[in-house]
Assembly symmetry: C2
Homo-oligomer: 134 residues x 2
């Protein structure tokens, strides 16, 4: 058979079969071609796309936001719209990176300054500056 069955693609992308169909319904992946009898046939690009979706989720994006990202990156949009959209998203990403860096530094300090075994480490709240953004 040409291409991947739904179970193959699900397996490759480490995702449930039902979730593949769910993503299709949500419009996150395009409707794949079908066999004579109606079986879905996928290409490797679907695997990449699904992996992207999962990863973007882990980075704190909702499925709706991911859908926007995918749509805008697929071309065919007015330049003005693309500029505005990407500008917003880039800002958002920069904030996320900044906050992750703060978090990382705090954890680093926490680890470095951690006293010997058994000794209770001093107060080292991670809360820090992560509280004043927007």
């Amino acid at each position: 058979m040409e291409g991947l069955s739904i179970s193959k693609v699900a397996n490759e992308a480490a995702i449930n079969i039902e979730t593949v169909r769910y993503y299709e319904k949500r419009g996150l992946i395009p409707e794949p071609p079908r066999t004579e009898k109606g079986y879905r046939i996928y290409s490797g690009e679907y695997v990449d796309r699904i992996r992207f979706i999962k990863r973007a989720q882990e980075l704190g994006f909702t499925l709706d936001e991911i859908l926007q990202l995918l749509r805008i990156s697929e071309g065919g949009h007015d330049a003005q719209i693309v500029k505005e959209f990407t500008y917003e998203k880039i800002q958002e990403i920069i904030w996320k990176i900044d906050d992750l860096l703060l978090m990382k530094n705090t954890l680093q300090k926490l680890s470095d300054e951690c006293p010997g075994p058994g000794v209770p480490s001093s107060k080292c709240p991670i809360i820090q500056d992560l509280t004043n953004h927007k």
Copy 2:
């Protein structure tokens, strides 16, 4: 009255009152002291803590993970455990930052190379390399 009422703290942290109590139940914030009649009294630190929780969520951490972060940063843990925990979390954060940078760069390119109005932009899939990580 000394300190903040639950509605004040909820308002400051831009969160629902019920969610404050919910976080208490989940152990994400400590049980605050009470008045004679049983009303919760909060300090400003609670606001910071809640803001931290919300932000960490937006960065893709679950409430359970956030609970771990808060617990470990509160001290009183064995050095070995702290080292191991922070090492893992730091790696995780580094991956997140890397992927966000990829995403940001792709969006940047997408924006820069975007053709004039009306012209459909060329294919510029954001999917890129976000697919090969752990």
